[in-house]
């Protein structure tokens, strides 16, 4: 299509491939190497430990059931919300939709901090209730329990389910449901026999995604669960950073990989059949007013729940960041600019803001340019084995961030690729995480461009490059912008890989927050709140900017 000559196409595609080879496959191969013994077999001591002690079986089992429970709970809470968004129009819907994007883009570390701020021992609810009723014991005691991180999982997956299911729901032809009603089905029967079966692919797809996210949950469990809980992901980190047992970490990483591939494969199969869009569109124009009192109260109840779940933790975070022992204080913010010998970080904490933003731009540039090349290559349907290359591109998505980070420190700290002290290491890791998202974001828009537009341009005398430059790129503006913001936000909030690769003198914001949260003391706690608030604000601003810019760029609609 775009670049007809295979040589040029492959030449351009070789860049993203080279990137994947060096920064994905090479680290991965090092992990596999580590898990094997000298003679090439599996390391017996590791295996004995793995299967003999029962500890690791428990970790795997825990990873699975906490993810399953999180998924079920999220669905229970989110499906009624999805219905409200798919079927009703109401005042302030746009605001709710904006609110819904917030948890979805919020870094997990901030989520964890926000839940600590709301429901933790020193949290807002306990703080207020104790001073109000003169209690000596906190009312809510869920620190380091499963309830705590289940809540956080529901928090950031709720909007995912609502968005995916509601946009799919609103595309189900209401006439199909009406047809069932006309054929004698009661509203319940019509839901059971028609709506639900049609909705199942979207629900299944969303559930699988939620399960995957929770299965690889890292920051939230590390921070809210405390040392008692360990998922595979957390255990890889502990084995590496705390116990220096690299072979064990590598073996666990391989197990994690196998599970993730399985989940992604399932997801790809489902998505192929259903075409559920991950980047769900706007659903604001397909609905009617809730007419009866029952419908109105149902909508009201769901929206109230949504505010309670999504807004209160973030508000609590902001309030906590300004409240010291004696009321309002700016202390937690001002101390971010200083450091002394007792400090947890090697630099002034505020430097991490600068680091994160710089790394964010770096990761965005790398992911965007490579993503654009890869998407252009993949959009050419005439090419052979497109499905295969598509799958290759998506592989990093199926690899947990912790595994990637672990791979980086075992592979890229000595020749042939020594980046141990390079500032590039973090942006490269982030770009790798963001890269599949960028491709997924660009590809649908690129494929939507009708071939005859390019043919028309060619017949009007444009060279292949000029066609790409003058037709494809302008039509892709919006998708590119969305992809760029996504890449930036992913980088800003990324914690799993950063926990391994960020150097002590160049911490990122999530790393700094984690350091603060994992150490006792009210100043550390307050600084975590302050830093989290800053990260939340930066994230919100970037998405708000994206929204603004996006509104300016009109949707491209192709005349048929």
């Amino acid at each position: 299509m775009v670049l007809r000559r295979p040589v040029i196409r492959w030449l351009l595609f070789s860049l993203p491939l080279l990137f994947l080879a060096v920064f994905y496959f090479f680290p991965l191969s090092r992990i596999i190497g580590l898990s094997l013994s000298q003679d090439g077999g599996l390391q017996t001591t590791v295996l004995q430990k793995l299967f003999g002690s029962g500890t690791y079986g428990k970790i795997l089992w825990f990873s699975i059931w906490q993810a399953a429970l999180s998924t079920i709970l999220t669905l229970v809470f989110a499906l009624p919300g999805a219905y409200v968004f798919a079927k009703y129009s109401f005042r302030g819907k746009a605001v709710f939709q904006a609110l819904m994007t917030v948890p979805f883009v919020m870094p997990t570390v901030v989520t964890a901090a926000a839940f600590r701020a709301l429901l933790g021992q020193n949290g807002l609810v306990n703080h207020w209730s104790m001073s109000m009723f003169g209690l000596s014991e906190p009312v809510i005691d869920i620190d380091q329990t499963i309830v705590f991180f289940l809540l956080a999982h529901i928090f950031y997956n709720y909007t995912l389910v609502v968005r995916m299911v509601s946009s799919f729901w609103s595309t189900i032809d209401h006439k199909v449901v009406a047809a069932a009603r006309m054929l004698g089905a009661s509203p319940m029967a019509a839901f059971r026999t028609v709506t639900l079966p049609l909705l199942m692919p979207a629900i299944g797809s969303a559930a699988l995604l939620v399960f995957t996210f929770c299965f690889t949950s890292f920051g939230v469990i590390l921070i809210l669960g405390g040392p008692r809980f360990s998922t595979l992901e957390v255990e890889i980190y502990r084995q590496t950073v705390q116990l220096f047992n690299l072979p064990m970490a590598a073996t666990l990483a391989i197990i994690q990989l196998v599970f993730n591939f399985l989940l992604m494969w399932l997801h790809a199969r489902l998505a192929k059949r259903t075409k559920v869009s991950f980047f769900a569109g706007d659903v604001s124009n397909t609905q009617s007013d809730p007419e009866s009192a029952a419908k109105r109260s149902f909508a009201f109840f769901n929206l109230s729940f949504m505010i309670l779940l999504l807004a209160t933790p973030l508000i609590a975070l902001i309030i906590r960041s300004f409240s010291g022992e004696d009321g309002f204080t700016l202390l937690y913010y001002t101390t971010l600019f200083t450091r002394d010998d007792t400090s947890l970080l090697m630099v002034e904490p505020i430097a991490s803001v600068k680091n994160s933003i710089l790394f964010g731009f770096g990761a965005m540039s790398i992911a965007l340019s490579l993503g654009l090349l890869a998407a252009t290559f993949l959009s050419d349907n005439s090419g052979k084995n497109i499905a295969f290359w598509d799958a290759v591109i998506m592989l990093p998505l199926a690899t947990s961030a912790v595994t990637l980070g672990f791979g980086y420190i075992v592979a890229l700290n000595k020749p042939p690729v020594n980046l141990r002290d390079s500032l590039l290491l973090v942006p490269l890791a982030h770009a790798l995480v963001a890269f599949p998202f960028v491709v997924r974001c660009l590809l649908p828009s690129l494929r939507q461009i009708p071939a005859d537009l390019r043919e028309a341009a060619t017949l009007l005398g444009a060279s292949p490059f000029r066609v790409w430059r003058l037709i494809d790129i302008p039509l892709l503006r919006k998708a590119i912008l969305v992809a760029a913001i996504f890449a930036f936000a992913i980088s800003m909030g990324e914690f799993g890989a950063s926990a391994f690769v960020a150097r002590p003198h160049t911490p990122t914001m999530p790393v700094a927050i984690f350091r603060f949260l994992s150490h006792p003391g009210s100043l550390n706690y307050g600084q975590a709140m302050a830093m989290s608030t800053i990260l939340m604000v930066v994230t919100c601003i970037s998405f708000w900017l994206a929204e603004k810019l996006e509104a300016r760029l009109a949707d491209t609609r192709y005349v048929k």
Partner: protein, 363 residues
């Protein structure tokens, strides 16, 4: 099947508002057993809204609906035992042909043997034997339409509602299927209400036609009556008539004169109690061309003008002529050959092709 000429459905003063807009404005009509009513109107005229009210998919707020002399306003859609065929069919994408047709029967809790029998019967009725196990995406547009018809007829509905069921098909297929639907409905003696914006479809399927415009039922008559005497100019324009001249009729109601006074034709206006202002419709098929005989106008039914356009239609010609600053279009047979553009033509109009349309609103 013979049905007594009794009223099955009586709709009175049915109105519907959505927010500030009036969708339906006091619609009243009644329908006899076994009749096929066609609701005809442009998009946005309220046809589908009316159908949804009758189906029970929307609630009646103002007006009444009596079905077999019983008020059905509070009966929910699934208990009315009405059938409905939807625009784009609304076939269940997760069920095959057989399962789609069987759905209504399952809802009736029929035994599976009886369901199988009825499904087979329906497949035969619509000419889809052997298609039972096909999925929806393996069917052509016409086949889907047949499945939708079979599905809506299978539970033997007491009233069948059809919402532009042929809307997405091409012309030829539509003509064929319209005839087929009428045949099947008449064979089963089903009372039906068919909604369309296509007059050809309406005329070929209906026993009665109701013309909807801006939510009002402007005319409710036999198809022939609607065609020969449209109730107002809006309907005449909607039916595609373009030979409309404004003018007046003399006191006796026998002579029409155009506003300029240059065109005069004898008419037969029954109700002379109307105001003299009127619009004369000359139906396009109501002119005869007897060869080029230019000369003075003797015959009062003669129309003389200069041909401005002439196009070949297959079975005849469409000829546009200019006469006294008015443009007229007629369909003329192949022989005698009408003159070429620029030449003068002399046409004789059939008295029955001249109709005075009194528009109470327009004056």
């Amino acid at each position: 099947m013979s049905t007594p000429a009794k009223t099955i459905l009586k709709v009175s003063d049915l109105s519907r508002k959505y927010r500030e807009d009036t969708i339906l404005d006091s619609v009243s009509f009644s329908l006899l057993y076994g009749e096929i009513l066609c609701l005809l109107g442009p998009s946005g005229s309220g046809k589908t809204s009316l159908l949804r009210l009758l189906a029970g998919l929307d609630n009646v707020e103002t007006g009444s609906v009596l079905f077999e002399n019983r008020d059905i306003r509070s009966t929910p859609a699934h208990k009315r035992q009405f059938g409905m065929m939807f625009q784009e069919y609304a076939l269940f994408p997760h069920k095959n042909v057989e399962e789609n047709i069987a759905f209504g029967l399952e809802m009736k809790k029929m035994e599976s043997a009886a369901i199988d029998k009825q499904v087979t019967k329906m497949l035969k009725l619509v000419g889809l034997e052997g298609f039972g196990h096909r999925n929806m995406d393996e069917l052509s547009g016409g086949e889907r339409q047949r499945v939708a018809l079979a599905r809506s007829l299978a539970p033997q509905p007491r009233l069948l509602l059809l919402d532009e069921p042929l809307g997405s098909l091409d012309r030829t297929l539509r003509d064929r299927l319209t005839a087929e639907i009428r045949k099947i409905l008449k064979l089963l003696g089903v009372t039906a209400i068919f909604v369309t914006h296509d007059q050809h479809e309406a005329f070929s399927i209906a026993d009665k036609i109701g013309v909807l415009h801006n939510g009002r039922l402007e005319q409710f008559d036999r198809p022939e009556t609607v065609y020969t005497t449209p109730a107002n100019i809006e309907i005449a324009r909607f039916l595609g008539f373009s030979n409309l001249i404004r003018g007046t009729v003399d006191n006796s109601g026998t002579f029409f004169q155009s506003l300029s006074g240059k065109l005069r034709f004898p008419v037969n206006r029954a109700k002379s109690s109307f105001r003299p202002e009127t619009t004369l419709l000359i139906r396009p098929e109501g002119a005869v061309f007897r060869g080029v005989t230019p000369g003075s106008r003797i015959d009062p039914f003669q129309l003389c003008g200069i041909v401005t356009e002439k196009s070949y239609l297959g079975g005849g010609y469409r000829v546009t002529l200019l006469s006294e600053d008015n443009e007229f279009t007629f369909t003329l047979p192949l022989y005698p050959q009408p003159p070429e553009p620029g030449e003068t033509i002399n046409l004789t109009l059939a008295p029955s092709a001249l109709v005075c349309i009194d528009d109470p609103a327009g004056g």
